[in-house]
């Protein structure tokens, strides 16, 4: 018998309170039994001493991991205020018109719930009035407490707390044709409300990582431009989740606004991202004509700026007719500010 097994059997017999049943088979086991018996009699600390230690540890734990409500938020609030001020200033300088502010709301128009304390401060300081404006870019700021700050319009045309339910995450069945909403007061994202919405908790359309909660901010943001660098309004940007052992799922879709800007809200995971528009060739990230050559985009805690350049269909036809290959538009390279970066599959 393996000495360890014999020992365990003897100890188990002893623990079951059957004296004699654990007759040691050799001297090693006798020593082991004496040891186990002695260990069982090893005294713990006196209760009052343990209680003192327990209380000290509980206090230390509270010190080390304070509850969210008591975590200091003023450094984060100051940082947000500073960036808001810079954004407003930049907006005035660039556009020459004063900034307006508009709280973003979800598609139903209800105010964004669960506002952070920092944003509450911002909101108190900045009147929540004016027309709704689409955010042109989103700045994600990680505050010392680990909370994510909210969106900021670099044109100075708005500050907003993010809705917890992203409007751009309106996930639609099928692949609807892009519908641009080029109205005078465009919504943050163009949506085609006629199509049924699929929530990410839909069992038939699971999110890429169901254990991960809906992110607090858009995972992808950027512009869709034509080959000459002009914005493509109404282009459709679609993210397909890559799941091992399953076909790729349409995960989220967003349309560009009048200036070609889009935001896509995604849970962390791996995606292929495609942009397309009527009259333009479809492109996968990064500048890939088809899915096979697409680069996988890894979405993490931060967000990625992806700029798509779509060649016009007639351009592509003329290039093909000339026997040449489509040249890579020399767009600015994406600048992932977060920890996640696009990676090669």
């Amino acid at each position: 018998m393996n000495p360890d097994d014999a020992l365990q059997a003897a100890l188990a017999d002893q623990a079951s309170g059957a004296p004699g049943a654990a007759a040691p088979v050799d001297a090693d086991l006798a020593a082991a039994l004496a040891l186990a018996a002695a260990a069982g009699r090893t005294p713990a600390l006196a209760p009052e001493r343990s209680t003192a230690i327990r209380d000290a540890l509980a206090a230390a734990a509270l010190d080390h991991y304070p509850p969210p409500s008591s975590r200091p938020y003023w450094p984060g609030a100051l940082a947000v205020l500073a960036i808001v001020a810079l954004g407003l200033l930049a907006g005035v300088l660039v556009t020459g018109r004063p900034a307006t502010t508009a709280p973003l709301a979800d598609e139903a128009g209800s105010p964004a719930p669960a506002e952070s304390r920092s944003m509450a401060v911002v909101r108190r300081l900045i009147p929540a009035s004016g027309p709704r404006v689409p955010p042109r870019a989103v700045l994600v700021l990680t505050m010392p407490s680990g909370q994510a700050a909210s969106g900021l319009n670099p044109e100075g045309t708005g500050t907003a707390a993010r809705p917890t339910r992203p409007p751009a995450a309106a996930i639609r069945a099928g692949a609807p044709s892009p519908t641009a909403e080029l109205s005078a007061t465009p919504t943050p994202v163009a949506t085609s409300s006629a199509l049924p919405e699929i929530r990410t908790d839909d069992p038939e359309h699971p999110a890429a990582d169901t254990a991960t909660p809906t992110p607090a901010g858009p995972a992808l943001a950027g512009r869709v431009l034509d080959a000459a660098g002009a914005p493509v309004p109404g282009a459709s940007v679609v993210a397909f989740a890559i799941q091992p052992g399953a076909s790729e799922l349409l995960q989220a879709e967003a349309d560009t606004d009048a200036d070609g800007f889009y935001q896509v809200w995604l849970a962390p995971g791996r995606y292929r991202v495609r942009a397309g528009a009527p009259g333009f060739a479809t492109r996968y990230w990064r500048n890939a004509p088809d899915e096979a050559s697409a680069e996988v985009v890894a979405v993490g805690a931060g967000w990625l700026a992806l700029e798509f350049r779509l060649p016009r269909l007639e351009e592509q036809a003329s290039i093909a007719a000339a026997g040449g290959t489509a040249t890579e538009p020399a767009g600015p390279s994406p600048t992932p500010p977060g920890p996640s970066r696009p990676e090669q599959p």
């Binding site: 020593a31 002695a38 260990a39 600390l45 343990s50 540890l57 010190d63 080390h64 969210p68």
Partner: protein
């Protein structure tokens, strides 16, 4: 000698798992860490008592062990294995303590009198064994204390000592043989490679 239960019953509701308690600590519920100490403290104290035989030192080291655990709690991936993990920390804490007191090592090994607090323990059988174990090498003491005083599994002991389970099994066998000779000097026919 006061024996505290390993897992004190929690009034009202199911007993939270170690993982639940760890999550609650990280969420800012300090009392949950007190509960983790109540649950795993006795085993850690027993392990420390076996290695040090000094009640004051046990109290100090137990607190130090749990404070180290607190600092590393956010990085603990297998939260349900908090108990085994904290004993790994205890093993390191003891090693650190003896390393710091290396120059007093001989005094420590030769010390025979139990120190403050436990002299009045009526059944001092455990002290005989613990003192016999104290004459073993550090490795042998560690494996016996983790396996018998703390009740860790072979696999968890192997993790705590950073060795393979087979190596720990071998180490335990040799440690027991040595202990037997220490306890029963008249024993003969030892095969201790």
């Amino acid at each position: 000698v006061t024996v505290r239960p390993e897992s004190p019953p929690v009034p009202g509701g199911p007993v939270p798992s170690d993982g639940d308690l760890v999550r609650r600590v990280l969420a800012g519920e300090g009392q949950a860490f007190g509960a983790l100490y109540e649950r795993h403290g006795p085993r850690v104290e027993r392990f420390l008592a076996f290695r040090t035989r000094d009640q004051d030192l046990v109290a100090d080291l137990a607190q130090d062990v749990f404070l180290r655990a607190l600092r590393g709690l956010a990085g603990l991936r297998e939260r349900e294995r908090f108990g085994a993990w904290v004993l790994t920390i205890a093993q390191r804490a003891v090693a650190d303590h003896w390393a710091a007191a290396e120059r007093h090592r001989e005094e420590r090994v030769q010390a025979s009198a139990p120190t403050a607090g436990w002299a009045e323990v009526p059944d001092i059988g455990w002290l005989d064994v613990a003192q016999a174990a104290a004459r073993l090498s550090d490795d042998h003491q560690a494996v016996l204390a983790l396996r018998f005083a703390a009740g860790l599994s072979l696999e968890d002991t192997a993790r705590a000592l950073d060795r393979s389970p087979d190596a720990v099994k071998q180490l335990q066998r040799r440690a027991l043989a040595r202990l037997r000779r220490a306890l029963l000097p008249q024993a003969e026919g030892d095969e201790d490679p």
